[in-house]
Amino acid sequence: MDPIKSLIQNLADQYGRQRENLLPIMQGVIERENFLSEYSMVEIAREMDIPASEVYGTATFYSFLETKPTGKYTIRVCKTITCAMKGKSQVLFAIQDMLKIKLGETTPDNRFTLLETNCLGWCHKAPAMMINNEVYTELTPEKVREILSDYMKQNGSI
């Protein structure tokens, strides 16, 4: 069977097929696929027996439920007030410079997507960012370069 179909079936078996299990199922798909494609949204709808438009409507409401393709690692840099005051722009420049992409873009090898996000709850250690679920704080351009090159090495390329 096609892998997305069976992934969704497994998730539905695990969480249940009631409406209240929609978010965990969507989160589960993203964990594997990095985003919710139209195809997977339709599959989720079928599996849970709810209209696909409901799945789409719910998915697009949440900023972490990406409905456009993203890379393996999604970098979210906090742009809210304290991070903005403490040097978020320099951090962002450093990332763009290193990955050679602009905000909102994904690297051609599909590994990194760069986004901004709202307050991450680390204002006392601003500026902050998340890479997937991992949080990094008190960032400086040097520090992000180190962090990113670690990620790049993990993937065996630089």
């Binding site: 009631q18 209240e20 299990n21 978010l23 409401f61 005051m85 996000t117 204002c123 006392h124 949080v135």
Partner: protein
């Protein structure tokens, strides 16, 4: 009196209580009514920002007739400048779990949820371990209560209690009309107690040490202690437990960098207080404090004179524009227009008097927006524009 008030640091919340099992087993031997009375006499109010009396919330839910009831711990901490709930959940999670179980016992709920914001996903695993251990103990003392962690997915509005419930039901997190209130019809239509993480920990303190201990802290109408998340231009960013009722002057004396020009109390949805009003402002719920009383969910952001208040407001408005759920027109259109409006004034495309029109727009939003988000945009907007008008123009 206010001027003689000093900042008082307290240590209840993060104090390590190795005897939570004993606290739980002795508390649930008391009658629910007795515990509700205890909470009511402590005068504990919700620590998420809205300040509803906690005892009353529990009482209303316990009186509601229904087959199923729920307890929800609101850990969707998203207000810019707050980071206290995360610390609680990572340092003393067992206090939160104990409080939820006691709440279940008092109200008749057998199930609880912790709605954790997506940004705190890294806490999930540890929390689930704690829950497993906790539930094991509950079984031993014959307490029937289950707790589940539910992950949010990046939406500030889901901190609003009814939006949170919609989200928990697998829908878009759009706030509901009230009434009915969650105490009557909450998650899946059942009576539900929804409390902030910090509020639950305070109930633990009250059940362990007695209502009087809590009541004796703080000032009239603002009892007890509160966790403050301090950030911005301060040499001491971090989390502090302080008695309620302190004057902002004392706060700045302790946490300022000597050049504090303004403090934003309560995050983006709170109020900005300029230097000349520090003396008259006190931190606590509405009531007879000195001059201005400022309620807060705990966010305290300091700005020194190197900061442009235009940039601050611009950043807040962008935040609201993005986080508005889009359900009602005053908020959806209002947030956009406010942002466009201040930019237009700054560029000189609109005269300074346009700011007054925008102020009127925030009044309309305050009156007609459906939930706290749209209603509270007026707080930061008017307090910044009125106190730093020149910075908006030049």
């Amino acid at each position: 009196m206010a001027n003689s008030y000093q900042l008082k640091r307290v240590d209840f919340i993060f104090r390590n209580e190795n005897d939570w099992e004993k606290v739980l087993s002795t508390t649930i031997k008391k009658k629910p009514q007795e515990l509700i009375n205890e909470l009511i006499s402590s005068e504990l109010k919700g620590r998420g920002g809205a300040g509803f009396p906690t005892g009353l919330k529990w009482k209303l839910t316990s009186e509601a007739k229904a087959e199923k009831k729920y307890v929800i711990c609101n850990a969707d901490e998203g207000e810019p400048g707050t980071f206290k709930d995360r610390e609680i959940l990572s340092k003393v999670p067992y206090k939160v779990l104990t409080a939820m179980a006691v709440c279940g016992y008092v109200t008749g709920a057998k199930e609880g949820f912790i709605y954790l914001r997506g940004e705190y996903k890294f806490l999930e695993e540890e929390l689930n371990k704690e829950i497993a251990e906790f539930e094991y103990y509950c079984k031993e003392i014959n307490l029937d209560f289950k707790i589940k962690v539910f992950m949010g997915s990046g939406a500030y509005i889901c901190g609003e209690e009814t939006a949170l419930m919609e989200s928990l039901e697998g829908k878009r997190g759009e706030p509901r009309n009230k009434p009915p209130f969650p105490t009557q019809a909450g998650f899946n239509g059942s009576p539900t107690v929804i409390n902030n993480v910090e509020t639950l920990v305070h109930t633990f303190t009250i059940f362990k040490y007695g209502a009087k201990k809590f009541y004796d802290l703080g000032v009239q109408y603002s009892r007890g202690t509160k966790l403050f998340s301090v950030s911005g231009d301060t040499p001491k960013p971090g989390i502090y437990e302080l008695e309620l009722g302190m004057s902002l002057q004392d706060f700045v004396y302790e946490f300022g960098d000597g050049d504090t020009k303004a403090v934003q109390v309560g995050g983006a949805s709170g109020f900005l207080v300029p230097r000349k009003k520090f003396k008259d402002a006190a931190i606590g719920f509405k009531g007879k404090l000195t001059g201005i009383s400022l309620p807060t969910g705990g966010s305290m952001m300091l700005f020194n004179s190197s900061r442009s208040m235009f940039n601050v407001l611009d950043n807040y408005l962008e935040f609201f524009r993005e986080e508005c759920c889009g359900q009602c027109t005053p908020c959806r259109v209002g947030c956009q227009q406010l942002l466009l409006g201040i930019k237009a004034v700054k560029r000189g495309d609109k005269p300074a008097s346009y700011l007054d029109k925008l102020l009127r727009l925030t009044e309309t939003m305050q009156l007609t927006a459906k939930c706290g988000l749209g209603q509270s945009v007026a707080n930061s907007f008017s307090s910044i524009v009125e106190n730093f008008r020149e910075e908006m123009i030049y």
